[in-house]
């Protein structure tokens, strides 16, 4: 069974369609990147995936069951879209443990997972006794990504995870995502503006433009330079 199935998904604001995807399937264990210019509908899609907004039409199914109005997917999904996904009056450790608890993990299990992210987190996040609200934007981003991944989800949804990260952290998280995807077969859906990051790790890249899927590429069969050319043309 496909991990995610989308049928006639539409999101309309006023007269304008922000998202219009007639049909799309995402296979289990795939690492799918969503690229597109600002306003292409990437975040809207991810918000619909997480049932944070209501679709105008159509539906999204995770493991065969509709996402809208249901809860089953929450058990298997880790996500981080923006700061609204952080409980900012907790310290990062407290947030990780708390998130772990919600997913039924004990402290030891969370600690084991956190060890994997030790390099990514660096020494400015854990053990500093700072609340999340007092962290820099980059460190908040790191805390959000780790909290989404530390629970070992079957489906991971991240919106612009490379934003605000320093170059080293961008490389580390790329490797961590790739490793987790290969080792555990986590299905990943990641949006980004940065093509370089996605082309390096994704087994599939979906190009969105004005809410529509304009390219659906499967490297290495498909040449991802095509996406680059597309944006160059748009820029001209």
């Amino acid at each position: 069974m496909e991990a995610i199935r989308i049928e006639n998904l539409k999101k309309q604001y006023g007269d304008q369609f922000t998202l219009d995807i007639p049909s799309l399937e995402i296979t289990p264990g795939s690492l799918t990147g969503i690229v597109g210019n600002n306003g292409a509908g990437k975040t809207t899609w991810l918000r619909l995936m997480l049932d944070l907004i209501e679709a105008t039409g159509g539906d999204i199914r995770i493991q065969g069951k509709p996402v809208a109005g249901s809860e089953h997917w929450k058990k298997i999904t880790g996500s981080f879209l923006d700061e609204g996904f952080l409980i900012d009056f907790l310290t990062p450790e407290e947030f990780f443990y708390f998130t772990g608890k919600v997913y039924g993990m004990d402290k030891k299990a969370v600690d084991e997972q956190l060890a994997i992210f030790a390099r990514f987190l660096g020494d400015e996040i854990n053990g500093t006794n700072k609340y999340i609200r007092d962290l820099s934007t980059g460190n908040k981003q790191k805390a959000g990504i780790v909290a989404a991944m530390v629970v070992r989800p079957e489906l991971l949804i991240l919106d612009e995870p490379f934003n605000y990260l320093d170059p080293s952290s961008q490389i580390i998280i790329r490797k961590l995502l790739k490793a987790d995807n290969e080792a555990r077969g986590t299905t990943m859906l990641i949006s980004s503006h940065n093509l370089n990051h996605l082309t390096e790790i994704c087994s599939r890249v979906i190009l969105l433009e004005k809410g529509k899927v304009v390219k659906d590429l499967h490297p290495p069969q498909d040449d991802l330079a095509e996406v680059d050319r597309y944006f160059s043309l748009q820029a001209e």
Partner: protein, 493 residues
């Protein structure tokens, strides 16, 4: 300054509160007119009342004797209710806008607070009837003097509430002052009243010194506030808060250990202790435990009905205050809640147990002190505790769900103020009005007051407690249905 004014206006004009809730605004207007009319009439008839109570003295002199009490009460009211104006600061910090200018702007805005003018609804008709017939100058001088006294209270409150370091800590500054006032009032009431009368008379006679001293106090406090505000800007930007340590977290862990609800209680406790606004509400608990018995000590036990109304505000303890903003606290991280395995039914239930428990812990020492101060009110207080933690808590939790502006993840604010003041007004109004129904039912019971009120409030409260799972389930369901409405509308804009 012009730019700040324009931004303030735009912020007000474009707030969701301005765009929505026409019905609520209309209701607020009607109630506002009602209260204003009530105060005006009170001011008109006050000379007659005072002439009856103190026949040997002109009404204005009797009134001046009570000035200290009126302004002490006004100060207490302001300390709990008056808020500094909400001002966007951080966005201007990176711009060539002087901190001093921003601070001054906030101070100027603060003078528009209704708390500075509500007393004039009584004072103007009162002075019109008592002073104007004596002399026009006396009327104007008295108004000016009264404005300066209001200005002192205003300046004290602004100074306390804008200083860096947290409101509760700053309130401690006032404790010795309050203790001296209470002591003076208890030991030398005559002298205090006489001094107060002299001050009033000095105002009416246009004594320059009587105006200069309060004006100097106001100016000094305003200067202090301006300096405090400028320092507070750093704190608001988080520079100082970077060094706040989270403490041992023993209580967090204690709450976390409870089966089933531990997860939610731990979070609720952390929210309560780490969100500045929420912790401010929590830190009022010791003040209420001391302040309420003092109030009952001075009030005596003649007017049981007044007590009943007062109890609505205090019997639920911290929870009555806190739950008026239910779910606003979660606004910032509501996306997290919405995408995790959070059972809304259990989430709200945990909230209800937590605040009922906390209210009970607040009630116990209060009852113990009241046993010595005013035993008559103990039973009423206990009955009202059940009433407030029962139907009133249910109402507050439900009102939060009905408020479509309560959750606003786009705000990026630790606490979403949007729509809270309107709902706050409505919830307090309905809570107070509900006491009328209690009184009516109590009236038909074959028991004398206050036993009848105790019976009605206790039974109603206990019934709500017994059936709490049922009404909380309804609220949770409504919350889930409201989710899209709560989450999407701001994004759609």
């Amino acid at each position: 300054m012009k730019m700040l004014l324009r931004h303030t206006w735009l912020g007000f004009r474009r707030s969701h509160y301005f765009e929505r809730s026409m019905g609520l605004k209309l209701l607020m207007l009607i109630v506002g007119f009602f209260i204003a009319g009530y105060l005006l009439l009170f001011g008109l008839f006050l000379p007659l009342i005072l002439a009856n109570v103190f026949p040997d003295r002109p009404p204005h002199e009797s009134f001046f004797s009570l000035l200290w009490l009126i302004y002490a009460g006004d100060l207490m009211l302001r300390l709990f209710m008056q808020k500094p104006p909400k001002q966007l600061v951080q966005a201007y910090m990176g711009l060539p806008v002087k901190r001093r200018m921003l601070a001054r702007f906030i101070l100027v805005r603060s003078w528009f607070s209704l708390y500075n003018y509500y007393l004039f609804l009584i004072l103007v008709p009162f002075y019109l009837r008592t002073l104007l017939p004596i002399s026009g100058a006396a009327f104007w001088y008295a108004l000016l003097g009264s404005f300066l006294l209001a200005g002192i209270n205003h300046s004290i409150v602004m100074w306390i509430k804008t200083r860096p370091g947290g409101q509760a800590k700053n309130l401690l500054f006032l404790l010795p002052l309050a203790a001296i006032m209470v002591l003076l009032g208890a030991l030398y009431p005559e002298k205090l009243m006489d001094a107060s009368r002299q001050l009033g008379l000095a105002f009416t006679s246009g004594d320059t010194l009587a105006f200069i001293i309060p004006a100097a106090i106001v100016i000094s406090l305003q200067a202090l506030t301006s300096r405090g505000l400028q320092r507070a800007f750093y704190e608001w930007q988080g520079e100082e808060s970077l060094y706040i340590h989270t403490g041992t977290g023993r209580l967090d862990r204690f709450f976390g250990r409870f089966p089933e609800y531990g997860l939610y209680w731990e979070l609720e406790w952390q929210l309560l202790t780490r969100n500045r606004r929420a912790s401010g509400v929590l830190k009022q608990i010791p003040f209420t435990i001391i302040g309420i018995p003092l109030l009952f000590y001075f009030m005596g036990d003649e007017d049981i009905t007044t007590y009943t109304y007062l109890f609505v505000l205090i019997a639920g303890g911290h929870g009555f205050n806190y739950l008026q903003y239910a779910y606003s606290w979660e606004s910032r991280y509501f996306d997290w809640i919405a995408t995790r395995q959070i059972d809304m039914h259990k989430f709200i239930r945990a909230k209800y147990y937590f605040h009922t428990g906390l209210g009970f812990l607040q009630l116990l020492p209060l009852l113990l002190i009241l046993a010595f101060v005013n035993p008559t009110v103990i039973w009423l207080m206990a009955g009202m505790f059940f009433y407030v933690t029962g139907p009133i808590f249910a109402f507050l939790l439900n009102a939060g769900v009905k408020n479509s502006t309560r959750i606003d993840p786009n705000k990026r604010a630790s606490f979403n103020m949007e729509g809270t003041s309107g709902t706050l007004f409505l919830t307090i109004l309905v809570s107070m009005l509900s006491v009328i129904a209690v009184m009516i039912v109590a009236f038909f019971l074959p028991f004398s007051s206050p036993v009848n009120v105790f019976i009605v409030t206790t039974i109603t409260g206990i019934l709500f407690m017994i059936f709490h799972r049922s009404w909380i389930r309804t609220i949770a369901l409504r919350f889930t249905k409201q989710k899209y409405n709560l989450l999407s509308k701001y994004r759609e804009k």
